[in-house]
Symmetry: C2
Subunit: 575 residues, 2 copies
């Protein structure tokens, strides 16, 4: 395989991640949207994509370049970057789409791979065969076998990063098999053959397909939702862990007068008002409808891109602030068929909850029955089981929550239409009882015993809430203002270390990393030798050496699975 | 009272209306958002508001102009339009806000009215007293009495259109009394003293206050939700029938670094991405955060205005297309407190359903328990009661719907996460049975008997659905493709006229209008002498003369209540 691909996670929420993707020496922030530029029918120039839309990666079609005599000459001579006038990442498609549309293509896998090598694609594709949704299973299987052969061929031949197509039609067993095989060899995996499913609004199946692929490839694989370009689906696909999207839709829809919004597609001709304030809509207003031909397509395409990138920013912001579920509750209501994806989400909830972070700053909005399947709820319910309490308060969807937990995330952030008077409850509970319950919740049953009666709890002057915990004059813990999470100091860490046997609460690091960690440097994934799988991203963890000697305390920044499967990026931010 | 105010409805959905407001010789399309321009701390110039934001009406504060010696001189000399450099509608506030903020003001009702006369306000206010939410009732009552005295004073003194404040704190009985008194005399009514309620996210109460006011004033009154400037509430307030909003928020929030979105307020400093593509956000990107002082406030204010106007356009588009409930299901999920307004909405549902239209083109999205309270559901359930059928299909929230109705709006437009196979059901029912059930549904029990067995039904070649109904070779009805609504021709109209006694299905017009209607001209409200109150906007109606002679058939364009209370605008579009 060709150029180097690196991928590091910067922020997480549900299964989603904001990451930095290194393609050779070029960087892309993910989730990223790659606009598709048609080599023969360019609607918005790569220059404008770069300058106006800050696009760092785009897609084009190698098959079209190969089949057009004139273009082929030029691109072989100048390379695809010069042809397009774009110095960012250029991903090329192999003609698979044409294969699906027209049943055959006039190239071979070997030829199209060689061609992509020659034109300098940063990312390229082998000639995978997208099976139609609901294809006969035997046919889908046959096509998958051929696809996997071609994948193997690509492994040896491609000088580019292979955007490795995972096919299998609507058959989840085929998808799983494809994912296992492809995921083994390729670091960039493309969920292919999903356009038809999306266009038919078969969102529950879309969720099942993406989740099946994700579950069967290593967590450090970058995932491209191939052909997914409608902003109404970005939040859902990102939540499932898709990192790359591509949009031919912005231009194709524009040609048909279709006007994208994050809540669905409208027809320009049906509009009496433009429900948008992008530069195109602000400039033209309803006169957008009066434009003709190329100009109309162009301006409508610009609108489509503006709203697509704005939605992507919204999704990324939600990942950063931990409010992606809140956004999903809104977006799923763009259409009943999208809302019906909840059922599928619920089936993958327990898997997703291992990826989600355990705490955050964002409010928890209870906005409908889907709250039942929120990953926070899976995780919180499990941890509530660690806490012994005789006084409970009903907080749907969490169930009956020990009142002592009312001040810790997610309960402290809980907001429901039928409000629960958390402040009132807070006043009824002694600080020490609260602290002990929170210890059990955060670290495990029995952690409460590490807080003896004689601790002195100091409260915030401003909020009246617990902030510092002293034992025999020594600060043993502080509580973070944003989520009331307990941050153990050395003494408490030692007690936790003693109380809970290996591997619980622990991230064990290699000797090589030990001196750096001792100095307070972050723990990087590649130096982690063992981790407690019950931990969750954003948990406070004990960093230990191979002999289980406590080195430092820190905050886990990935899920345990990711820590073990990533060879780069930070695992624990050490205090 | 001063200049003429005219108001005509162009489109309706739920309690919302798109209208044209005539202020003297100036026109405003409603729902309209009037940005507030502070005479002393202008953030965005009226010129830019006009040119860039297409603002046709703005607000400023007459009290500040009065109290500032320098400004007073200038504005008395040049008038408020020249002072601001704005030739659209200028509405002025009287200092009520200052009164609420500071407890007293240095002017009198008479003085501030006179001053607004002198400076040429198009719309002005008397010195009403906004009671605080949860004020002592006796105090709120006292303040209301004084407000009503001042209203009476304004009636005689004001040369401008009075934006008549309806106060009463959170007491609905006081609000009702105020609305009755104020609504009698003034054509522009302002729901006042609601800013505190909104800022505390007390949305259920906001709904109750607005609904109480609306129920107690004539339907032809223009309603200003005073101080309501956050786009997250526009759809809700519009659905309840508010026509005017004003926003000081765009500038005030900008000063604090608050970034408006239709889903709530964000803090610019918290953002890692700008979830927006307005010209300000597109131009600056995250550098918006680096701007300082006046420039930062200005650009943030521009963003706030762009998203506010885009949301207003979204609301107006939803009214036009009849999808306001779908939008509400999304917007109410911006925050759990907003979602809690559903309960209040449900209590006003039966009232709202008299205002809503009975059919439309938009899909009916079932997106959550709020669907139960949708006005379409109130109306449809009532009409389902007219239909006799032994075969029913479950369509929550409508309940058990006669299968024969599966092809008429709203059932034909019904979309739920758990899909109902309407197409399948359609195939099982004979056209004649369907047609008869639809007759009962649309016109009343027994209308089915007007379709004898010998009718010939012609179906669309394209869709296979019923399109034309012939009796003895004569076309007696057609079915509209968009909603399968029955459009009766003369023969069927005569049968309906015979079958259903006066005033059922009828709009009776004055003799003066009769010759015009005979020619096929629209029926205007002022010529309607009687109307069947069971009709709904968009129903097919019989237009009759005073002697109940059938003149023509047509489509009702307002609710019966509106038809009787409006003296302008179209009531029935005659075929």
């Amino acid at each position: 395989m060709g150029s180097r691909l690196g991928f590091e996670i910067k922020a997480k929420d549900i299964g989603a991640r904001v990451g930095v993707l290194e393609v050779g020496d070029k960087l892309i922030e993910t989730p990223a949207l790659m606009p598709v530029v048609s080599p023969k029918r360019e609607v918005i120039s790569p220059k404008e994509l770069r300058e106006e839309f800050k696009v760092s990666a785009l897609m084009t079609n190698a098959y079209i370049l190969l089949r057009d005599e004139e273009l082929r000459e030029v691109v072989l001579d100048k390379g695809v970057h010069k042809l397009l006038g774009f110095d960012g990442v250029v991903a090329t498609d192999s003609g698979s789409f044409q294969l699906m549309q027209y049943g055959n293509v006039l190239t071979s896998n070997k030829e199209i791979i060689g061609f992509q090598n020659s034109i300098g694609s940063d990312i390229g594709s082998f000639l995978d065969i997208p099976s139609m949704p609901d294809a006969f299973k035997a046919r889908a299987e046959e096509q998958l076998d051929l696809t996997l052969d071609r994948a193997r061929e690509a492994r040896g031949e491609a000088d580019f990063i292979v955007n490795a197509g995972i096919q299998g039609s609507s058959y989840l067993d085929l998808r799983a098999r494809a994912a296992k095989e492809v995921g083994k060899d390729f670091r960039l995996c493309a969920v292919g053959g999903i356009v038809g499913i999306m266009e038919a609004y078969r969102f529950p199946e879309l969720v099942d397909i993406i989740a099946t692929v994700k579950k069967n490839i290593p967590l450090n694989r970058v995932v491209h939702a191939f052909g997914l370009g409608h902003p109404m689906v970005f939040s859902l696909a990102a939540a499932l862990g898709c990192d790359l999207f591509d949009s031919a839709a912005y231009a194709l829809y524009a040609r048909d007068g279709r006007y994208l919004t994050p809540m669905g597609t409208l027809h320009l001709d049906d509009l009496s008002y433009l429900p948008c304030c992008c530069p195109a809509c602000s400039r033209y207003g309803l006169e957008l409808k009066e434009l003709e031909g190329v100009e109309r397509t162009r301006e409508l395409a610009r609108h489509n891109l503006y709203v697509s990138f704005a939605e992507l920013a919204r999704v990324k912001q939600a990942i950063y602030s931990g409010s992606l579920w809140n956004l999903l509750s809104v977006r799923l209501r763009s259409h009943p068929r999208l809302l019906s994806a909840i059922k599928s989400l619920s089936e993958h909830g327990s898997w997703l909850s291992t990826l989600d972070r355990i705490t955050g700053k964002a409010s928890f909005y209870h906005l409908g029955p889907e709250a039942e399947y929120r990953t926070e709820v899976f995780n919180a319910r499990e941890r509530i089981g660690r806490v012994d309490s005789s006084r409970r308060v009903r907080m749907p969807p969490f169930g009956d929550v020990p009142v002592e937990l009312s001040s810790i995330y997610p309960f402290v952030s809980y907001m429901a239409p039928d409000g629960v008077g958390v402040e009132e409850i807070y006043a009824q509970v002694r600080d020490i009882d609260r602290l002990r319950a929170m210890m059990d919740y955060q670290f495990g049953s029995g952690a409460s015993s590490l807080i003896p009666k004689r601790v002195r709890i100091k409260n915030s002057r401003r909020t009246g809430r617990m902030r510092w915990v002293y034992l025999d004059g020594e600060l043993i813990a502080s509580l973070r203002a944003s989520d009331n999470w307990i941050i153990p100091k050395e003494k408490l860490a030692l007690s936790l270390h003693e109380k809970f046997p290996r591997p619980l609460l622990r991230v064990s690091v290699d000797d090589e990393a030990k001196p750096f960690v001792e100095e307070g440097k972050s723990v990087f994934c590649k130096f982690v030798v063992e981790i407690d799988v019950n931990l969750r991203c954003m948990d406070e963890v004990l960093v230990v050496d191979r002999e289980d000697k406590l080195i430092r305390v820190g905050t886990l920044h990935l899920s345990p699975g990711e820590v073990m499967e990533y060879d780069r990026g930070m695992a624990v931010r050490v205090r």
